[in-house]
């Protein structure tokens, strides 16, 4: 087990190295002078330009900039924003850090419960009208991009019925549509997997045994069937989180929510690369961490995985 965890941790290093180099190159090594962007109308002021260049460390040789960049990140310092001159990136990100994880967690909780329930129902009622209806909703939920779904939902609930706000952030009713739209793809994905795994498990001998010894159907489903599909469901968490990350970008853009996703997009347009790259790094590190946890959890449950994933 220890060998597996160590190997899995070692595998993270090249990923993080690639992120560091890529974000550094995108921020500091691109043509164009960020100081000129920062100065705007004062771009002819040589003295100010020189001072800013020194403060941002842009006058140092590239290898030294890279060393400072890596050293800073290791101590939680992501440098200073280009757009909000001399404001640390960490400060710019602060509000977004409170919003995006909240959105994603709410969507994950809702998606997991609704998705599992729908999947179990579809599997139990296999090949009935209920099953077909659920499958139709699943296909739609997985296929229609969330901003297209948002168009229909905002039009129906916010504009035609007027029961929910069109956009904004801060009140409870403003969270309903964003969370709902973020939930749909993950719920559909989980439901589809649950249905598939359930159908397989329900055909197993131990289910027949459980029924034969007179257990009630809910006990058979909950204690014998559902428990056994938790493992394969768990392994799909990485994909679900990947979807949630792109989802937050879209939902925050639609509803004008000041989270990390919208901030990243805005920063790219404003050429505020330190902020954009810090978000790139945060999301990648988060994604890597989730996948690590999933793999370790999987290895704890299924010893064969430990053997398979570590090269001899």
């Amino acid at each position: 087990m220890l060998r597996f965890v160590v190997w899995r941790l070692v595998m993270i290093v090249p990923v993080l190295a690639v992120v560091l180099v890529a974000t550094f190159l995108a921020t500091y090594a691109l043509p164009g002078d960020p100081v000129m962007v920062m100065l705007g109308d004062h771009s002819s002021n040589e003295e100010m330009a020189a001072r800013l260049r020194a403060e941002y460390g842009l006058d140092r040789p590239m290898w030294k900039q890279f060393a400072v960049y890596v050293g800073g990140i290791l101590t939680g310092d992501f440098g200073m924003s280009y757009r909000y001159v001399r404001i640390p990136v960490v400060e710019v990100l602060q509000d977004g850090l409170k919003i995006s994880p909240l959105l994603a967690l709410a969507a994950l909780g809702l998606g997991a419960s609704v998705g599992t329930l729908a999947g179990v129902i579809a599997a139990i009622r296999r090949n009935t009208a209920t099953d077909t209806a659920i499958i139709l909703v699943l296909v739609a939920g997985l296929s229609i991009p969330n901003f297209a779904v948002a168009t229909f939902l905002v039009y129906a609930f916010a504009i035609k019925l007027g029961v929910l706000p069109v956009a904004g952030w801060g009140r409870l009713d403003q969270t309903v549509l964003p969370v709902l739209i973020l939930t749909i793809p993950s719920a559909a994905y989980i439901a589809r997997l649950t249905r598939t795994f359930m159908l397989e498990v329900l055909g197993q001998d131990y289910i027949r045994t459980a029924r034969a010894k007179g257990l009630s159907e809910p006990v058979v489903i909950l204690r014998h069937a559902l428990r056994n599909i938790m493992v394969p469901l768990l392994t799909s968490m990485g994909i679900i989180f990947g979807g949630l990350i792109s989802g937050t970008f879209v939902v925050e853009t639609i509803f004008n929510i000041p989270g990390l996703g919208r901030m990243a997009i805005d920063s790219v347009f404003a050429r505020d690369y330190p902020v954009a790259m810090a978000i790139v790094m945060l999301f990648t590190a988060f994604f890597v961490l989730i996948n690590l946890l999933v793999d370790v959890a999987y290895a704890i449950i299924d010893p064969r995985i430990r053997q398979r994933m570590v090269p001899a």
């Binding site: 990923v15 995108a26 296929s143 297209a148 790219v268 790259m277």
Partner: protein, 290 residues
């Protein structure tokens, strides 16, 4: 001995496959939608009632009717014409991404699977690293370096897509590598390049193409998402994601642009996914009905 004759036809029985496909309702529905969208994209210049990029500032946000069947956008451009041009954009991007990733992924996958050893481990580690990045994050990185635009979309999606194709190819090759006809080719003195071209490629091409086509719906979705976020296809070129982006702020007063755009995009991806799922089921009957 003719080396091509040495490779037996393997993998797909097209007649049985077609029969099985025609029985599936999903494949018929999906196939019809896909055929319609592809036909529209191919015939786009003939079908557009107006120029998709011609503005008319005296006719902005027109409601559906005559002469603009589905209305106009904020610059007075014909929505129907832009939807048709948008179909072309979607399929062109998807086609480009598929072509690039198939070329790169098949080559590297064959190398990894056939040569094995250190080549294999290095390539597979690179694949693992690439798969560790969330796809929007790759797009943000690419957009920071290259700016926004069509090329950015194609490059980002190609970066996201090639590791999967490489892995898939490798898994096919690992099976075929053990076949007797490969040994025969080696003994007969066939060069490695020739073995790739004459023996490996023909035997993995069909299943690989089918599996890859399953992903077209997701590529179209990813392109639309990037264009919607403003990182992808830029004005004045028509793209469904861009149209929805333009239409959403006007949803209260002029909903047609966003609604028709969403409808076209949603239907198209459903079509590709239904067809893709059906193809996969038909190739792998064990998975049927899941």
């Amino acid at each position: 001995m003719n080396p091509a004759a040495a490779a037996p036809a393997q993998g797909l029985d097209w007649r049985r496959l077609t029969r099985r496909l025609a029985r599936q309702r999903n494949v018929v529905i999906g196939g019809t939608i896909v055929a319609f969208v592809v036909a529209v994209a191919l015939l786009a210049p003939l079908l557009t009632p107006h120029s998709p990029e011609e503005t008319d500032l005296f006719n902005t946000w027109a409601v559906p009717g005559s002469p603009n069947l589905l209305g106009t956008d904020k610059l007075g451009r014909d929505i129907l014409s832009r939807l048709i041009a948008g179909a072309q954009t979607s399929l062109l991007v998807a086609g480009a991404v598929l072509a690039i990733t198939l070329a790169v992924g098949t080559t590297l996958g064959m190398l990894a699977g056939y040569v094995g050893g250190r080549t294999d481990s290095v390539l597979m580690r690179i694949v693992d690293i690439m798969l560790a990045f969330p796809e929007v994050v790759i797009a943000i990185l690419v957009a920071s370096v290259m700016g926004t635009g069509t090329l950015t979309v194609v490059v980002s999606l190609a970066l996201v897509w090639w590791p999967g194709i490489t892995r898939l190819t490798r898994s096919f090759v690992l099976v075929i590598r053990e076949e007797l006809y490969i040994d025969a080719a080696i003994v007969a003195g066939t060069s490695t390049a020739m073995i790739f071209w004459r023996h490996l490629l023909p035997n993995i091409a069909a299943p690989l193409l089918v599996r890859a086509s399953v992903g077209v719906g997701f590529i179209i979705m990813a392109e639309a998402t990037l264009s919607f976020l403003g990182l992808g296809i830029q004005e004045p070129q028509a793209s469904w994601g861009g149209m929805i982006r333009d239409g959403l702020p006007a949803l209260r007063t002029d909903p047609y642009l966003a609604l028709f755009g969403s409808l076209a995009l949603g239907t198209t991806i459903i079509g590709f996914n239904l067809l893709g799922d059906g193809l996969r089921d038909a190739l792998d009957p064990k998975l049927q009905g899941r």
